[in-house]
């Protein structure tokens, strides 16, 4: 017996010798954050994500995971700069006619698709034609249907003429409309293998996609802005945030979004301070609870308002976000020009909530409200793996119970959620978030006609005044006029409460300190990913070219 015991001890000791991890670690006072070096090629960046991309062609994708990866593979004609102005990406320059109806793009020359074929205006034309094609299942066609005429002037010049002035026009020419014509012409885009194995011209190209596990992208050595320094980008799918966090610490993941808890309580140790860089900035994102406005319970506005009064948003921000964010009052982010700070706010007031519910015909019976023999009971759907949303739902459930409304919560896996329930409008209430663009045009979300399958007005909101204002907002280039329209829209939305606008969370990403060149800005940190690098001395992998 003792023999075995001794063997065990030796065994365990042997282990401690082999405890090395392979990723550079700060040792004895030296912080990786402070080590600098010259830009060098090499190494790989692994990002952790809970959701898996579903399709890698931008116009066909609706979820952020797909867009994130597709965004590295496809560039657009233009993009946002750090000061929120629009600058050229694939387009070298452009002219806008005086009446704002014609935009002429001049493309950069010599850009190649990763299969060697040159990128030309024909590809933009093909992309445009595809996105406005009725048969293409995209949620983004509306913006492009505003175009009256698109022309290829020459190999590198593309011109669009709009029917009416369209304020967001320029900003729409991102990566949604560039497609490799030579690979897709004549084929059905939804059945193309490019959805899972795209050919783009961006800084990275897809090497392999292991379903359920990860996507591996190699750098595009011929990228027109210069070969990216980091040789590989790995998008790892880890549906569980806690596991992802452990992976961050043991080297499996280099970059991830931290939960508020992780940001405030778990990343303040010596280890973290020396080996990681944390960032915090407000994002163009807000979380909301949306009602299915076709559901009998939610058709009465007083009911929706009552629910808004019954909820304490500041409580949610404190508990769920640890204060890393702010309550939302509408679909715009505070401190941006379209944001209207003077809309009706629903300060926490359960008495008022109860009163409104009584007015709407709900009577209390044994602690639950009832009307026409039906108890007030509904289900909130949200996506699995998102503790923030689950907790938000739980807090809402608790608060609503106090005014006599019973709530069930159901968490669904993301793609099932989107495909089977959202797209098919099969829900009572949902807790979700929107990522919005710096341009305030939100036509796709609020316009009453945008209720077809896969379109974004899945709550079936219908307000003619809002419809008119949405039109107005996108038809004029005058900022003051636009501002008036969007301010009024926010007033109406605040009255109507098709969503309960819950909060605007801060972004709190973390990146391993060996990656240099990161510059936080209002548009985030990944906008200049191709320029990030790992100094030679800190490189973990040596990829053989």
């Amino acid at each position: 017996m003792e023999k075995i015991f001794c063997l065990l001890i030796v065994f365990l000791m042997g282990f401690s010798l082999v405890g090395c991890k392979g990723r550079p670690e700060a040792t004895d006072g030296q912080s990786l954050v402070s080590i600098t070096g010259e830009p060098a090629y090499g190494d790989a960046l692994a990002e952790g994500s809970i959701g898996e991309p579903s399709v890698l062609i931008p116009m066909l994708a609706g979820d952020s995971a797909s867009h994130e990866v597709a965004g590295l593979v496809f560039n657009g004609l233009v993009k946002y700069d750090t000061d929120l102005s629009i600058i050229g990406d694939l387009a070298e320059s452009w002219d806008i006619s005086r009446d704002g109806l014609v935009i002429t793009f001049r493309l950069k020359k010599g850009i190649q698709w990763t299969d060697g074929v040159e990128f030309t205006a024909e590809d933009v034309m093909y992309g445009y034609k595809t996105i406005v094609d009725e048969k293409t299942p995209t949620a983004y066609s509306e913006d492009f249907k505003q175009v009256k005429k698109a022309e290829v002037i020459d190999r590198y010049t593309f011109r669009v003429t709009y029917e009416k002035p369209f304020a967001p026009a320029l900003s729409t020419w991102g990566n949604l409309v560039v497609l490799p014509k030579h690979l897709l012409e004549g084929k059905d885009i939804t059945k193309s293998e490019l959805t899972r194995n795209p050919v783009g011209m961006g800084p990275y190209k897809l090497d392999k996609w292991i379903s359920g596990q990860q996507l591996v992208l190699d750098s595009n050595k011929d990228y027109f802005e210069g070969r990216p320094y980091v040789d590989q980008f790995i998008y790892r799918i880890i549906p569980d945030r806690a596991t992802m966090f452990l992976e961050l610490q043991t080297g499996g993941v280099d970059m991830m979004d931290l939960t508020p808890l992780q940001y405030t309580k778990q990343t303040n140790t010596e280890y973290f301070r020396k080996n990681f860089q944390k960032f915090r900035y407000p994002q163009f994102v807000y979380t909301y609870m949306g009602f299915n406005l076709k559901h009998p319970f939610f058709q009465d506005r007083r009911v929706r308002q009552a629910i808004a009064y019954a909820i304490d948003k500041s409580e949610i921000v404190d508990v769920v976000l640890f204060g890393l964010g702010s309550p939302a009052t509408g679909p715009f982010v505070p401190n941006t020009w379209p944001y209207n700070p003077n809309v009706k706010k629903y300060e926490f007031n359960p008495e008022k909530a109860k009163q409104l519910l009584r007015e709407a015909g709900w009577v209390e019976k044994n602690g639950i409200l009832e009307k026409d023999g039906r108890p007030f009971r509904f289900t909130i759907l949200t996506n699995m793996g998102n503790a923030l949303r689950m907790n938000t739902a739980t807090i809402i459930q608790w608060r609503l119970a106090k005014v006599g409304i019973e709530v069930d919560i159901k968490a669904l896996e993301w793609s099932t959620f989107v495909n089977e329930f959202i797209d098919k409008r099969r829900f009572e209430a949902v807790i979700l978030g929107w990522q919005i663009s710096p341009d305030p045009d939100q036509y796709d979300i609020w316009y009453s006609g945008k209720t077809k399958e896969k379109e974004f007005n899945f709550v079936s909101y219908n307000n003619p005044e809002v419809d008119a204002l949405l039109e107005k907002g996108r038809r004029t280039f005058d900022i003051e006029e636009r501002k008036k329209a969007y301010f009024r829209i926010q007033e109406i939305l605040a009255e109507d409460q098709p969503y309960i606008f819950l909060y605007v969370p801060d972004a709190t990403p973390i990146v391993h300190a060996r990656f240099k060149g990161i510059k936080p800005s209002p548009i985030g940190i990944t906008y200049n990913l191709p320029k990030w690098y790992v100094p030679k001395s800190l490189q973990r992998h040596r990829m053989v070219p």
């Binding site: 082999v18 405890g19 692994a46 579903s54 452990l246 992976e247 080297g251 793609s415 099932t416 329930f421």
Partner: protein
């Protein structure tokens, strides 16, 4: 001996039939069917999913026809296509013939369970024997207590505790997946070592319950055997104690353990759902868990059936092992 084997084989057939019947029954639990009293409790099945189910399992046809069609498909291992976004055939997701062996989920689960069983054998048996031979000593009392606690300990709790200790605090071992990211660039010896590091905790957790059970049974079995007359005879003959224990007592005490191990295969396979989930191992258990969570019915049915067949095969192996070990049966 051949007769025995043949009999066993024949007996398996009705059992296999029974498994298919039960699986068939389970499919019909899918909500929406008039037979279901459970239907209101899971209203979240969508008409699309319902439609796909009907097509896949021919639910609109008469019961006997349904069963016949189901059986025909199963024999070919055709469980239909997965409901998940990539719509690959179920069998392919379990056992992808286009991938290297180690990336096939079934293989991964199989390998881990096999290793667990070996570990259980190697550790539980010596512990059981020594407990029996030193009955009522301090050693025995300690091991008995540890074993009892081991019985009662939830495996997922153990997994969490170990993960924190070895993975996070001590940084000794990786805490998820089967291999590190740079696996492909390692030399063969590096790959084996990497695999080993990743497998250590999962195998330990998987084997733990079995360890407790088996060592306890080994002990009981040994105790019973030691009391037998032939052992007293052996001692009286003057044989050294070691020979008495290992040559005579041990062999006989081993027999029930083999049966027990055979019976525990089902438990091992079932347990893989838990630890594969916690440790992020891409095996069949993790796939099963994901399929359950996403209501991927064909996938669930496929893995259930495969799991049952494997368990059956395991029991058969255990029986054969028992037969080989027990000369009384061989003599028949």
């Amino acid at each position: 001996m051949i007769m025995y084997l043949a009999k066993r084989f024949l007996e398996m057939i009705p059992t296999l039939f029974g498994i298919t019947l039960i699986s068939f029954f389970i499919i019909h639990l899918a909500p929406g069917k008039p037979t279901d009293i459970f239907s209101e409790l899971n209203p979240k099945i969508t008409p699309e999913a319902r439609e796909r189910l009907e097509k896949l399992y021919n639910l609109d046809k008469p019961i006997m026809v349904q069963y016949g069609l189901w059986l025909k498909k199963i024999v070919k291992l055709d469980f239909g296509d997965s409901f998940s976004s990539d719509r690959r055939p179920v069998m392919q997701r379990i056992w992808d013939t286009k991938k290297p062996l180690i990336e096939r989920r079934l293989f991964v689960t199989f390998m881990i369970n096999l290793l667990s069983m070996i570990v259980i054998f190697l550790i539980a048996i010596p512990i059981g024997i020594s407990s029996a031979t030193h009955q009522l000593s301090l050693y025995d009392k300690i091991t008995t207590t540890v074993v009892f606690v081991g019985f009662a300990m939830p495996s997922f709790w153990l997994a969490l505790l170990l993960m924190i200790l070895f993975g996070v605090y001590l940084h000794w071992l990786p805490i998820s997946q089967l291999k590190s990211m740079n696996f492909d660039s390692l030399p063969l010896i590096g790959q084996i070592w990497d695999l080993f590091k990743h497998l250590l905790l999962p195998i330990f957790v998987s084997a733990f319950g079995g360890l407790a059970a088996d060592s306890r049974f080994m002990r009981s079995s040994m105790l019973e055997v030691i009391r037998q007359d032939y052992v007293t005879v052996a001692r009286a003959k003057g044989l050294p104690e070691k020979t008495v224990i290992y040559r005579h007592a041990f062999r006989n005490a081993l027999l029930p353990i083999i049966t027990l191990t055979g019976l525990s295969i089902g438990g091992l396979i079932g347990g893989s759902v838990i630890f594969e989930n916690i440790f992020g191992i891409p095996g069949m258990g993790q796939l099963f868990y994901m399929s359950v969570m996403t209501r991927d019915y064909p996938m669930v049915m496929g893995i259930l059936t495969i799991g049952a067949v494997l368990t059956l095969a395991g029991n058969l192996m255990a029986d054969i092992g028992y037969m080989l070990a027990d000369p009384r049966i061989r003599a028949k």
